[in-house]
């Protein structure tokens, strides 16, 4: 290679020539006061709402309050390095994040900066963090299933691509596990997943990353983390930033799934920001626009029509309740915004019923159209049976005094409750789910003691994998339970049961 020093000089000279007489024009303001993650700035007269501003030392902030004589700025960096009288510069751009294929497998903060020790993220394409949701005419009905791989959810509260299904429950009831299992189950389904951690411990985020990596889920997942120690403005912004990244996939005709873990913390972060900005407090001291905070976020989950590429963005927001109170302010808000909720109960969880989904209170308002036909055929009576069981449960102690029909119903219910139990981290293919639920609702399990149901299930899955692989293949092609399919499933179940009885 031959490089002459003159050439380099010439290149630099040319570059320099472009710069001559180029005046830099920018608008500035002065910091009046700073503290609690908020800076009040005098000046910045033409600043836009939501515009990024720059403090000395490359600390960024976002203009959130435009008042008559000052601008309230939420600071994204260390406020201790900002002093009264510092110059604040406008950047003329509203907050945006990098988007694209390169983000897959990365851990980022709310501004799209890598925080996983990897190479800096290439920033070629940007999207604004706050954009309006797609219009009415750009959407279509939710009709494709988003398989969570969790029996009780795919059977009772099916989720469709483009749906927003709330996961709600007390602390330690398995909300995050449910969401993570759903992400794990998207392997090979062409769904890009986003996990947004808001106000969580860093150790928790590291743990989740580890779990996802172990299951090979980081090949299609991105983590956006605004942890408890990050500035509160970041925690408020993280869901919007992640949604902007996910929309890139939605708008290019692909499928994306986003998990917001959790929106309660985001609401609290926003409450803190609002109170510090002196916006008037309302119920539970949340500001007046707390509903809009979540509704405009979740509206961005959508199923696009064919003209727009038929992509989708499904959302699984998580809300933490206190002592099972779903009628508090934030839970009621988000319940009314979403297309259904999965309600997790502490009592069920403690009784060993995991996932601790309460089948009575959980609903999916649009997922029915997205459920595959076979599951619809099977799960129809499951809900009814479970509801009846819950009603009779209280009498189960007097089982000997009950008439035959009631006792049978109780026993059926007990077995069905066993059927919908599932371990964490093992999402199931839909064929397996249908097989075991079919067995449950059609009485194949009635003569197996309910303590042995799990064991039988295990045997059935093993056999479906080896002996009856042909059936699974057929099922996956048809996705409905035609009469011949039903007959072969009946035969399979009888055979497995016979062998199971022998080994017992």
């Amino acid at each position: 290679m031959h490089i002459r020093p003159e050439e380099i000089t010439a290149i630099l000279k040319k570059q320099l020539a472009d710069f001559e007489k180029k005046v830099e024009v920018y608008q500035i303001g002065t910091v009046l006061s700073v503290g609690d993650g908020i800076a009040r700035v005098h000046g910045l007269s033409d600043v836009m709402l939501g515009e990024l501003v720059m403090f000395p030392g490359n600390i960024t902030g976002m203009a959130l309050n435009l008042e008559e004589d000052n601008v309230g700025v939420a600071v994204f960096g260390d406020v201790k390095r900002i002093k009264e009288g510092d110059e604040v510069r406008r950047t003329n751009r509203v907050a945006s994040v990098p988007v694209g294929e390169k983000l897959v497998g990365r851990i980022m903060d709310a501004l799209g900066e890598a925080i996983d020790d990897g190479a800096p993220i290439e920033m070629n394409e940007f999207r604004q963090i706050e954009v309006k949701a797609p219009g009415v005419m750009d959407r279509q009905n939710v009709h494709e299933p988003l398989q969570t791989g969790i029996k009780v959810i795919d059977a009772l509260t099916p989720i469709g691509r483009g749906q927003r299904e709330l996961i709600i429950g007390d602390r330690k009831t398995g909300k995050t596990t449910l969401a993570i299992d759903t992400i794990i189950n998207q392997r090979g389904q062409d769904v890009y997943c986003f996990y947004v951690a808001i106000g969580q411990k860093r150790s928790t985020v590291a743990q989740i990353h580890e779990t996802l990596k172990r299951h090979g889920a980081m090949d299609y997942t991105m983590i956006i983390a605004a942890t408890a120690s990050d500035p509160v403005a970041m925690q408020f912004l993280a869901p919007y930033a992640a949604t902007a990244m996910a929309e890139y996939y939605r708008d290019s005709g692909r499928h994306a799934l986003i998990v917001y873990d959790d929106l309660t913390k985001q609401a609290q972060a926003y409450r803190q920001l609002s109170l510090l900005l002196r916006r008037p407090p309302g119920r539970e001291a949340y500001p007046g626009d707390i509903f809009y905070l979540h509704s405009r976020l979740l509206e961005r989950a959508a199923k696009m029509n064919d003209k727009k590429g038929a992509g989708s963005l499904s959302a699984l927001p998580i809300i933490e309740t206190q002592a099972g109170d779903i009628s508090a302010y934030i839970p009621t808000n988000v319940i009314s915004i979403t297309d259904g909720q999965i309600f997790l109960e502490q009592d069920l969880f403690n009784a060993g019923q995991r996932p601790a989904v309460n089948p009575g209170l959980s609903v999916s308002r649009v997922g029915g159209d997205a459920q595959i036909k076979a599951m619809k055929q099977t799960a129809g009576s499951l809900r009814l049976d479970l509801a009846q069981y819950r009603e009779l449960e209280a009498f189960s102690q007097f089982a000997s005094d009950l008439d035959q029909a009631t006792r049978r119903q109780l026993e059926r219910g007990q077995r069905l409750m066993e059927v919908i139990k599932q371990d964490a981290g093992v999402p199931l293919p839909v064929a397996y789910q249908v097989a075991i639920i079919y067995a449950g609702v059609n009485g194949f399990l009635d003569d197996i003691p309910h303590t042995k149901v799990k064991e039988f299930e295990q045997r059935l899955f093993e056999d479906l994998e080896s002996r009856y692989a042909e059936f699974v293949r057929m099922f996956n092609k048809e996705k409905t339970l035609t009469d011949p399919a039903k007959q072969s499933l009946n035969a399979i179940l009888t055979e497995v049961k016979e062998r199971f009885a022998l080994t017992r």
Binding site: Q15, E20, K22, V25, Y26, Q27, I28, S45
Partner: protein, 179 residues
Amino acid sequence: MSAAIAQRYAQALFDAGEELSKVETLHHDLQKINQLIGQSDDLAGFLRNPVVPAEKRQAILKDIFHGKIDTLTYKFILFLEAKRRLAHLKSICSLFDRLRARARGILRAKWSSSVELSPHDVHALTDYLKSKFDSKEVEASRDVDPGILGGIKIQVDDTVYDYTLQAQLKKFKHAVVTA
């Protein structure tokens, strides 16, 4: 809130000054008072202090200001005292200044250069600003800052026009590093 109060008093004083064609005298007095408050912590503290009894306040104000400023200004200060708005005196002074500048078509600019500008340069710059911003007069505060290396930086309201070598070098560095 406090800005709104000051704005109202400043506007009223300015209107009164216009009617009596005493704006310039008022301006002169208020500039001096503003300076005084900036220099004397005691005065600033006294103006803010709500504990001093009313008769004492009036006596003190008389001792400080009587005879040294125009009667209109003096009356205004006593009026502020009666309304218990003395704490706003300083911001009223700056707001009055702004009102006067707007009414008179005076452009407020601030410039920094690396070396002291020659009178010729100042003249040329003033003329340029006058034509560019379509104003009758330019009142500028100047400041010498060797840190900008060369060129000039002009600030009008919130907008900075940066012709300095320092900014060019920074920009050049950014372009070379990120290209």
